[in-house]
């Protein structure tokens, strides 16, 4: 039982990193998506380059760069800050692509109908296109969230005391008795978080889909 408790001690930080990074991604993805859809060519190209840059470098490298390599005057990120920001920025880039894809599959007739009725660009976007795009994007958003729960374990490499960090620590402290046990427990805790999340996501999706 001490093993389970030791591993569970990492759960709050796993959840904190995941939730904060996903929140940054959800919000930060919006301006990036707008940049990807911009009518101004240089803006579109610059955003496209940024997104490809963010997605092209492994997560662990971003976290190392932010944690060890970034300083501004006396300011440096602590491990939690670097993990949340790094994973958040990466999430924003991926979610922006999902938002963009969802807008692409919207029937062209939707924006035409909105235009023909006399809606301005803002109303068309906020009230007509965005709600439909969010529903389209929902399944990919939730699978990204599920992946992020597990990817948050990369934060252990820069010393965030989340589940994997806790499991590793326990294994090191009890070299002769622990064996792989802490990691099996860690796997169990991840499953206990992911499976209910997946169920809720599927329910939400079917509910929204039914109203169409």
């Amino acid at each position: 039982m001490t093993v389970l408790l030791a591993v569970l001690a990492g759960l709050p930080l796993t959840l904190l990193v995941t939730v904060c990074a996903f929140a940054i991604g959800l919000v930060g993805g919006v301006p990036i998506m707008l940049g990807l859809r911009s009518r101004i060519f240089p803006v579109r190209i610059a955003t496209r380059f940024l997104v490809d840059l963010i997605r092209g470098v492994p997560t662990i490298v971003w976290l190392f760069l932010l944690y060890f390599g970034f300083s501004f005057g006396n300011f440096r990120f602590n491990s939690l800050g670097a993990a949340v920001l790094g994973l958040g920025i990466i999430s924003a880039a991926y979610l922006a692509e999902m938002y963009r894809g969802a807008f692409l599959v919207l029937a062209k007739g939707q924006s035409e109908a909105a235009q023909a009725l006399g809606f301005g660009r803002r109303t068309t976007f906020v009230r007509i296109l965005a709600p439909q795009a969010i529903r389209t994007a929902l399944p990919s958003l939730t699978s990204y969230l599920l992946a992020l729960v597990k990817d948050s374990s990369i934060a252990s490499t820069i010393g965030v005391t989340e589940i994997v960090f806790a499991a590793t620590t326990f294994a090191r402290q009890n070299p002769e008795s622990a064996g792989l046990t802490p990691f099996f427990f860690a796997a169990g805790v991840y499953l206990a978080v992911s499976i209910p999340l997946a169920v809720v996501a599927r329910r939400l999706d079917t509910r929204l889909r039914r109203s169409f």
Binding site: G109, E112, L117, F119, G120, T123, S211, F212
Partner: protein, 261 residues
Amino acid sequence: MGVPLVTQSNELPTAGVELSHISKSFGSHLVLDDISMKVAPGSVTALIGPSGSGKSTLLRCVNLLEIPEAGTVTVGSKTVIAGRKVSEKDLLALRREVGMVFQSFNLFPHFSVLRNVAFPQERILGRSREEAEARALVLLERVGLKDKAHQHPGKCSGGQQQRIAIVRALALDPRAMLFDEPTSALDPEVGVEVLAVMRELASTGMTMIVVTHEMQFARDVGDHLVVMADGKIIEEGAPNAVMSDPREERTRRFLSAVLER
């Protein structure tokens, strides 16, 4: 004498539409070649012609869904001159005058039928929610769809969706209505319900421009028939006259294809 000098409004409830010297190309392909067309207030103009002739594009130029490269578009007292930058304000002012119905209905799937009809009134005309929904229900009842008000469009048949789309446009009190092949996506039997609504609308004196393959409708309801081919108007006149005795060989071929099938 008995006639007041200043009337309540010197705008007619319906507006005329005038297109002059409209040109439009997609890439290097000239879709509309210097087209001029005049639609009298309260009249019904049917636009026919083979596919690819530019009739839908011409219709979409009236409410500036397509911005022509040259020419002027006038609806009622609002004129937009193409070729220079068209401001968002002018664009919206002109679109406010015109309602449009699409081949694919284009109802908003995330709104209920009632919200589809009420929301634009709130946004465009500034009506209150109660007022807008009351008006929506009156109009829905008139096309026999009041009981669908609280369903989503996805639950309605094509014919029902198209009637809702007509109601959505009419709820904004347009002074002219554009129809882009309104029955082409419908089974013939269902199309009849939609045509019935359009006939009724025409009889109330609405200015209508209808792109259609429904020759019977064009003949019965149309005041004027315009035949297009290859981006030009090749013939126009009274529907009966054009259909029974076309002047152009191209019109003859097209009519025999659609009438004698």
